[in-house]
Amino acid sequence: MRALVVDDSAVMRKVLIGALARANIVDVDQASDGVEAVAATKQQDYQLVLMDWNMPNMLGIDAVREIRAQGKTMPIVMVTTEAEKSRVIDALKAGASNYIIKPFEPATIVTKIQELLAKTGAT
């Protein structure tokens, strides 16, 4: 399994990569904004994407729309501080598969990732 972690914070990318490792996902690429994320998904097939919302150059939600427009169907999990219900609905409409609100307990995010992958049969 290959995953893509998208966040403009290098520290948050490290935290998420650590969480993925605890879910036995160690083949991970990184992108620091939506533009890089869209470019990465054009070049590589990922089985999971973790996507921040507020980033320079291109917002995460716009990147989700562009990735779905490519016909990609991998699970995309928004991992963001945007906690309002309207934001969650917008993300799901754009094509996000799940939504994790920062702050999170590391164990919680591992469980959510494992549950999502089990549900989508991507494990």
């Binding site: 403009d8 520290v11 935290v15 320079p56 906690a83 702050p103 999170f104």
Partner: protein
Amino acid sequence: MVSINAGGVFVKVEYINPFIESTFELFRTMLSASIKRGNVGLAQSDAAGPRDIVALIGLSGQAQGMVALAFPVSTALGIANRLLGTELRVMDDTVSDAIAEMVNIVAGGAKARFKIENGPPIELSLPTVVRGNSFSLDYPIKTTWIEVAFESDLGPFAMRVTMKIEAKKGN
């Protein structure tokens, strides 16, 4: 209306409490750290107190303002090390990045707690970090900045907030 008397200026608690609650949640979840709120008062320009590294983020829309988290070096290092499981001993870009993410999470959590019905979501700016001790923080004269002191097992820090919430047009 419940308000806090901050140096003679009364500030609505619903403007400040979301930031305090969000800070507690951040420390409890991502940092597994205990935290206690200290004094609440008016922030003074160039105030004494922890401010070796300051992270700021703006809010716009129906709620407009700014929140700043100010840390001494030891607390900032403690946060970065707790978050990453590292043993960093000097301030570097990684520590700044960690502190920027802290203020981003605090502001994001706070804006979701504001009791604003039916309006568009409040927008966050990208965070900014100021590092070093040769700067002064000046607050524009027409803004009221409230300072909240915190103690945590990662060290002391302060939060400063200036905020106004616009009444929804047509109501």
